[in-house]
Subunit: 461 residues, 2 copies
């Protein structure tokens, strides 16, 4: 055989989802990684070269064979998470939305302009999400440019692929005076500087760091700012993130101010592109979804958060049929969990609740929305493959030229709830992992071919 | 001070819920336990005797002060869990109900008549649920009497308070020939023997073991058996467990066979008592709930399982207002998680989804059921206080004569997702624990005053 120059070769069983609704088991394969941190090749046991590659590498120190009970999963892509809301995670979910925003969330995000606080908090969120298998995260930072740059630097340093946005919010009618951009010009200038600075950070680390244009949502921005951000997106070709039709209130606001839907407003300002990630979308109409499909934008489905703030379930299966891609987001701290596993589970659960309905006083036939259910395969696809496509990047699959972003799940560690029995098929194992894994089961994590989890429990105290 | 003869004195901060919807913080208290394993006294820092008790015990080896970041919670009561379905936990949730029952569940439960399999499986479920804080569990065993007795023995030996039932299912029209009681007389005889045998087991351990009369559900039993089990319940005064109006199918079945609702049928046979635990109840009508309230029966609310099999959300807040108590159940393996923490979270989540509705195509005002939401306080009440009341026992509160069943939650362990900050109030801490604790956080567990968690991760391999 010819010289391959692999930098790592792993042998074991992996799961991934190349197709919506289907899971592929890569049983006892060899996964070869190259110097760029990409998958160079996947050899199946029946492949002619399998034996040669195995013999060539199995005695080298770049070779690793998974132990019984260990499995590989692609790293997860969290398409929606608010880094400065970290310290509120798990609290204040019982208060009304206005209280949540004005008394809990805005003051907290404001505090993250203090560098010491920001450094500690951002290290914790990056460390914790890595410990839950999130290899790529699309972060809302705060309104503060310097603080959000710190977030991008911390992602770069800790090995997570961070797509970060300085949050733009300059509409004095919707944003508190202590927490907003001074005016449209200042907001746009800051965004431009932020893009340039994050690009430089990205060049400094193998997994990259990406700037994201981030209008908080339509209500928080003036017209001039929405228009200017659309122009910046066209100029730089970078991703955009915002919220879309998250709640009855947000959906109604766009009509009141513009006489159009939230989606139509974003599109009018050039903010729906094939690199746009729009969070929630529970209140999108079918015609809004058709617009998203036409533009190639991706919805960040956040099922846990939506139970508290979404006023409905995002109908992920119907939207995929319309051509609208969706990935998954934790939406910390509107969602109480930093784990995409929890959101994979919840995505399945809420799809069943949408299908069957919730109010048993209605007749069964009028209670829910038939054919809404998804299963663990769709949910894994959203957490991996769809997240990569949303960002226009080769992420989420064990295939050549895809980044080698991978989780090693060990089902036999202490604190494991995953119990595998002799009758379990590989598909059963995947189901048990997706429904029952906790962070103790994640014993190694690779981003762009590099191992990035170190120390017990991945926790810095 | 007089001699107290305490067997343990703990100092620290605890949370509990004496009242539906309210949480009480017992800050820096002394919890004194007596030789019966009951709470003998709770001393608050402002109590006159606090200093005396502290001085008397703090140098003894029965004293333990919680470290910073550690908190006490009452042990949880799981009101509904199927022990022989353990090995299916986390799988087959995407198959239709008929397939789930006939191809996955009944054959699996049948296998648990083999003592070796049963011993291994039952040790795992008891060990794992203890590791998640379940100090009392109301178990469906299998149809096999000997196997279910083994379950009761294992609970007794491992220190969990097990309320176990040999499952009765003798209706040939609904039960497969390989897995049912031979006839009504055999089912009733087996139940009587089972009750006597479990009572003997209960006398052998401090926490007790309780027999539970367990008709699987109305469809699985003949009339003679339902009537006979009602008579046994009256004769022995023991608890009853069954399923009630779990799904559209089950609710409809009762009308077809009896021309009455599922609740009315159970009542007709004497199976709704103040010691009855009826699982699910998603399809109960208001008049059925009124009947439950009158009888003093308790609903085991299983929010995770119901998403898959319930065809609706059990309206826990409306039912409490009607006087119907509800506790929580994991319903393994209809529910994929062995943890009541997961079900506490899901109880909150589904209450919000019931309130707001799921199908955004309906106008907001017609989408959900107003005033359905509960919060973390209601959910904790269900997992503790209500579970104890369901069984007519003093469980779930840190109060004199209540069993000292307690969880020690350490927020600072490796793998912890609980991050406490200086601004967090005790109520915030409780919210973070309930939404974010995982089994690594549970570092000690007491049942009836005895510590019962040993070894790393509480796992036997």
């Amino acid at each position: 055989m010819t010289e391959k120059n692999y930098t790592a070769v792993l042998r074991g069983t992996a799961f991934h989802t190349p197709v919506w609704g289907e899971a592929e088991v890569l049983e006892d394969c060899l996964f070869a990684v190259d110097a760029k941190g990409e998958v160079a090749a996947v050899y199946h046991p029946h492949d002619a070269e399998y034996g040669d590659v195995l013999r060539r590498y199995e005695k080298t120190d770049i070779y690793r064979a998974l132990a019984p009970g260990q499995y590989l999963l692609p790293g997860f892509v969290d398409l929606h998470i608010h880094a400065p809301q970290w310290t509120n995670m798990g609290k204040a979910l019982h208060v009304p939305l206005a209280t949540w925003l004005q008394e809990y969330t805005f003051p907290l995000e404001r505090k993250l302009a203090e560098a010491t606080t920001a450094r500690e908090v951002y290290r914790e969120i990056v460390t914790t999400t890595l410990a839950h298998g999130t290899t790529t995260a699309v972060y809302f930072g705060s309104q503060d440019t310097a603080g959000t740059l710190l977030l991008a630097e911390i992602c770069a340093a800790l090995g997570q692929r961070g797509a970060c946005g300085k949050v733009v919010m300059d509409n004095p009618e919707e944003c508190p005076p202590y927490y907003r951009d001074a005016d449209s010009a200042a907001a746009l200038r800051a965004t431009r500087e932020f893009i340039e600075a994050v690009r430089a950070i990205g060049n400094s680390c193998p997994q990259g760091a990406w700037p994201v244009i981030t209008p908080r949502f339509v209500p928080s921005c003036t017209d001039a700012t929405l228009a200017g951000l659309g122009e910046l997106a066209a100029e730089y070709g970078v991703p955009i993130q915002t919220h879309i039709a998250e709640s009855d209130w947000e959906a109604g606001y766009a009509y009141e101010r513009f006489g159009k839907s939230d989606a139509e407003v974003l599109d009018m300002f050039g903010l729906l592109t094939k690199k746009s990630v729009v969070a929630h979308g529970t209140q999108l109409r079918d015609e809004d979804a058709a617009l998203l499909a036409e533009r190639g934008s991706t919805v960040a489905h956040c099922p846990l958060s939506n139970a508290f703030f979404g006023n409905g379930v995002y109908p992920v299966r119907r939207r995929f049929a319309q051509g609208v891609r969706a990935g998954l987001g934790t939406d910390v701290s509107g969602g109480y969990s930093p784990s995409l596993y929890d959101n994979i589970r919840q995505a399945v659960v809420v799809s069943r609740m949408l299908e069957d309905g919730v109010d048993a006083r209605r007749p069964a036939a009028e209670r829910g929305v038939p054919e809404s259910r998804i299963d663990y395969r769709h949910a894994l696809y959203m957490a991996t493959t769809a997240g990569g496509e949303a960002l226009g990047s080769k992420l989420g699959l064990f295939r050549p030229v895809y980044a080698f972003d991978a989780q090693l799940i060990d089902t036999r560690v202490p604190h494991s709830d995953i119990h595998i029995y002799s009758g379990d098929t590989p598909e059963d194992v995947l189901q048990k992992i997706l429904f029952l894994a906790n962070r103790a089961n994640l014993t190694a994590l690779w981003v762009q071919g590099r191992e990035v989890l170190h120390g017990t429990g991945g926790r810095h105290e």
